[in-house]
Symmetry: C2
Subunit: 428 residues, 2 copies
């Protein structure tokens, strides 16, 4: 980790305004595969599945038998843990439903919003060494609570055409309605256009490597919505002289082990405490199976001493971290200072691992500073809020003259006429 003592504002700005890989340079590859999938459907999807995942089978849909088998293939304690996590996530996301609130903006003019689920959502779960069943829960459960009728999941198979049973079990728990063994750009393209097998979806969710990220950005230009622009995962921790250095070090490493391009930052008003934390990081690092990945991530990470905790929060707001751990005793007293972050962990025992799996909050969060303008995934991500208005005769008679003046001032006489006709009819 890079240790920096009291950087000036220019140096701070350099760190907070981190570069985001735009994926613009992958556009050619993405465009080629999209065009192919659009033209040839399943045939193209099968071709790329064979090329990238090594699976040569033709049936890309997970069968009910495969689903049933999964539950018997995973340890009972893992099943229980997945069930418990699902329960916690469900509780929090269910609380995000909104009641309908009818507002009389003027006599006879009533406005309100009603939520409707998005019809077809496509959830993407990456393959690779670790089976990300936790993300299946984080995306599938709010989609189910929202009432989205079609909840599709795509994930790449191994060369034998298998999906990790923990992913299949989590999909069952989260109520996924259709599962497909398709990954990469071809999965995003398939859900964008639809194919003989894959349904066309309205919105695509989920993490992925740079190819999937670029494919989602491209899909967004073709009328498919996406959850969030993606970037490397990150944590920022604010610690003081009383924070537990071992806990802080463990939280830094939990983030660092994700990916070589993860970034972790610790800020403190106590330089000597940062030294203790750095020492603890070195010690704990030695025992980690994913030591190499974490080491790589630490190269572009920072331990920064700042004059005061207020300065630490100001830095954090400029950085807008995906995860913010406030490792202070009176953490909740500081929460009003936070203006931009994906998810916040308050106090000694609120470790990021809790939010990653089972506190109940969603772990699909804005990275790379996107937290300045974006929220993480929530129930809101799976619904649309439609505005309604109901205006009575009296309501329009009262508001009508205002509408006529405004429409005329914008030069829109047909707009005005739609009001005038109704008023005249009433006055005649």
């Amino acid at each position: 980790m890079n240790y920096i003592l009291f950087p000036n504002s220019e140096a701070q700005q350099k760190i907070t305004s981190r570069q985001v890989p735009t994926g613009l340079n992958l556009e050619e590859t993405v465009r080629t595969i999209f065009t192919d999938v659009q033209k040839k459907g399943d045939q193209a999807i099968a071709k790329y599945t064979q090329l990238f995942d090594g699976f040569e089978g033709e049936n890309l849909r997970v069968s009910p038998e495969e689903m049933q088998k999964a539950a018997s293939q995973i340890a009972p304690e893992l099943k229980q843990a997945i069930d418990r996590a699902a329960h916690q996530i469900r509780r929090f996301h269910e609380s995000q439903r909104e009641p309908i609130l009818r507002i009389t903006t003027s006599p006879g003019v009533t406005c309100w919003r009603e939520s409707r689920p998005i019809e077809t959502v496509g959830l993407y779960i990456p393959g690779g060494t670790a089976p990300l069943f936790s993300t299946v829960l984080m995306l599938g459960i709010p989609a189910q609570i929202a009432g989205c009728p079609n909840r599709i999941l795509c994930t790449p198979p191994n060369a034998l055409g298998e999906i990790n049973p923990a992913i299949l079990y989590a999909a069952q728990v989260a109520g996924i309605t259709e599962l497909y063994k398709v990954g990469g750009i071809q999965a995003i393209a398939g859900m964008t256009f639809g194919s003989q097998t894959l349904p066309k979806v309205d919105k695509i969710f989920g993490p992925g490597n740079k190819y999937v990220t670029a494919a989602k950005a491209y899909a967004q230009q073709l009328q498919v919505a996406i959850d969030l622009p993606a970037g490397p995962s990150e944590v920022l921790i604010i610690a003081d002289a009383n924070s537990n250095p071992e806990f802080v070090a463990a939280d830094l490493l939990a983030q660092a082990e994700h990916d070589a391009d993860s970034q972790v930052v610790v800020l403190s008003d106590a330089p000597e405490q940062l030294q203790c934390i750095l020492a603890a990081v070195e010690r704990q690092l030695e025992k980690l199976p994913r030591k190499k990945i974490a080491q790589q991530a630490l190269l572009s990470s920072y331990a920064i001493a700042l004059p005061s905790l207020d300065d630490c929060f100001a830095f954090s707001n400029a950085y807008a971290p995906e995860h913010l751990i406030v490792a202070l005793e009176n953490a909740s007293d500081w929460s009003s200072k936070i203006t931009a972050a994906g998810s916040v962990f308050l106090g000694t025992y609120s470790c990021e691992t809790a939010g990653d799996y089972a506190s109940g909050t969603n772990h699909t969060l804005p990275t790379s500073g996107y937290a300045k303008a974006y929220s993480g995934v929530s129930l809101d991500s799976f619904i649309k809020k439609i505005t309604f208005q109901e205006i009575t005769e009296e309501g329009l008679l009262d508001l009508g003259p205002t509408l006529e003046i405004l429409a005329e001032a914008e030069g829109l006489f047909a707009h005005k006429n739609a009001v005038s006709l109704r008023i005249k009819k009433n006055n005649s």
Copy 2:
């Protein structure tokens, strides 16, 4: 208008799945201007302002004197109407604030969301023949209610460097904090990168021509959020044998006069009623100042007879109109059938003009079928919802074993260790 009697499902699908201009072919122009603005800042912005708007002045910021003068330049009745509209919009958007709801997902584990305003928002208001002061209110008022500290407005000047006084007055009413005489791609580029004069913004809002639309899509790839993907404006009206044909015709024309590429659709279970509506459209069209624009729009518009009102709502949901007018007597009985629309107008007196200006709902809405996955602009568009979690020692002792199992199953041992350390400390 194209009159279609009982189309089959294939013919219906052709109409509902309308093509969206992607703006991909404008990318070269957009990229050039963006690069220029990024490199040369104000100098490039002034160059393009001179080129596209004919204004050669150097000071692109609207002065307090210009603002003050505006109020005296517009008619008192227009001022009053703008004030009234602002009041109605304010009332409805203020009702969209959300209380903080703390949820105990398990003993000692508390999760909640808190809203924070986006720091700097950029509102774009197009120039052209009609001064769109109504959009200033629709974007500026929720930004002010959300508490966004910096509320920037960009709009192109005329060749003399003037902004329409109605826009300046609306900006005052809506509490815009900074106004700039910059339009087109150069405005979007300026707000994306910031310049000597223009601030860099976190999110860009507002309508525009195809150049502005393409520029916003490009800005989105450069880490700036945008309100909505844009497309031509549209209305869909559902009428039956008892609807007032003159009212329906007036509402169709109000939409048609917007732009030559606007689309209007009327559906009915009563073919003879559609004939009356079409006749009324022809009659009313003759008197419109914007007759030519409306005529053009009507060429690609539809009057469609379907077997039942249920079929009409199914068609409407597949079309996902920006505006949906339910011109039926018992309109609100049908509202639960609506699954996708931007804003809905229920009943005879709820004309679209009301929502365009002053019922209180927002008129910045998803077009081109985007209502299947997107909501219109609301208070939500100007805030982020940050999730918080606070976990007590007891809470972590209870949830910890679950977290350890899940982290281990995903192969993330540093994640597990962050929990184990805390549990061990407690047990020792």
